[in-house]
Symmetry: C2
DNA sequence: ACCTGAACACCGTTCAAGT
DNA sequence: ACCTGAACACCGTTCAAGT
């Protein structure tokens, strides 16, 4: 009667449901038993598909990485960087739990490697030396992932909330001790038109401009097709 | 006979022992019972001094922050930034577990606030506008904390290890698919004299140079004593 | 005031057993 | 091949009780 000829679990289904779970209820809510329940299965069944919880999390992260849209490789490296960073931010805003984990480099999966390979190639073909290409991808990635890591962990998301939190924080710690912080909140964060993303754009453009100095210094060893 | 007139626990003692514990055995090893045992006390005793584990962790983080040595406020902002970042890296290398947590902004403690206030002041007194000062501390902090967050989570620490891991990673994923990664490892990371810290210095100097463009644009509203 | 003991509702993981 | 059930060694937290 109940002769399921097909298994009702698969790595893909498990990863999907796990991502839904943490998106809805946060990383601490991810337990094997809870996840099993949402898949109508005992938690222990998951151990048939993944050796342990860590492996499951790594699979979740690589799947998130797959969502990052990598730009065409033949556009200007400046635009490549801009588009890729925008996509990283976009994706990680929808998967806040993944931000710190991706940054702190649990070991790279397929998509992670592809992404880095492409970015590295873009710089090399733009004439960056090997060393400078490494410097470049490092600074771009540290800034981009570092920014989201801080961003998604802010307790507020709207601008109004930001102002309120700012006020609270300052009030909490004897306002007179922090005149510059107070000035920052009132003159910058409270100003209408303020957007946290402006901070990101400023930083990324500063970095891009700085990197332009090293463009075309060559020692390019790999053929640029 | 055993009439301890003094309590043998205090917030300070607890935080100290907690930090020793995680430095030795990592964040996952931190449990209230385990920590209690190391203090010759039942784990439940800790709840008299801290409302919950989260509060304990926040206290640990603020204590780590206190170790960061903040430079004299009257030196050039460039040197202030260099010295402060170097100290952040130094401290967080000794407390790797703290890197991701500090970055992901559990809410700021006393030392955290003092640190930010000082840095903000340095930029304002150097003639940065309020907006640009905020941009400046953001990019500097994102890069500095982001860098350690990635650094401390690398599974290797010596240069030799780095090379080995690099080779492994590439071998793992069909080498032919990643020619640029291969080039990076062999031409850059395997080269003698290579130091991960070079990546940091390159990035920080690029940022400092970029920021010099905004120095002295003024609208300085707070008296510079 | 400061700590203990027992209890509650959970965890991740292993492993024999079921189908 | 794929999943279940019971068991082990843990968690964080609450709360009455001890001194």
């Amino acid at each position: 009667m109940k002769k399921d000829i097909q298994p009702n679990l698969s790595r893909e289904k498990i990863v999907n449901e796990a991502i839904s779970l943490v998106n809805e209820r946060g990383m601490p809510a991810l337990s094997m038993r809870m996840l099993g329940a949402r898949l109508s299965v005992e938690g222990m069944a998951l151990y048939y598909h993944f050796p342990n919880k860590q492996a499951l999390i790594e699979a979740m992260l690589d799947r998130v990485h797959a969502e990052i849209s990598i730009p065409e490789a033949d556009i200007a490296w400046q635009d490549f960087v801009r588009q890729r960073s925008a996509s990283v931010i976009e994706v990680l805003r929808h998967h806040p739990w993944a931000a710190t984990l991706m940054e702190s480099g649990v070991r790279p999966g397929e998509y992670t490697m592809q992404d880095r390979e492409r970015l590295l190639g873009v710089f090399r073909r733009a004439g960056f030396s090997v060393s400078n290409a490494v410097h470049a991808i490092t600074i771009v990635d540290v800034f981009t992932y570092g920014f989201v890591a801080q961003l998604v962990n802010l307790s507020f998301s709207t601008k109004e909330d930001a102002a309120v939190v700012g006020q609270d924080v300052i009030a909490m710690f004897a306002p007179d001790k922090y005149p510059y912080m107070r000035e920052m909140v009132s003159e910058h964060m409270l100003k209408r038109g303020y957007d946290v993303m402006d901070e990101f754009v400023f930083g990324l453009e500063l970095i891009i401009t700085g990197l332009e100095r090293f463009e075309g210094e060559s020692n390019n060893k790999i053929e640029t097709h």
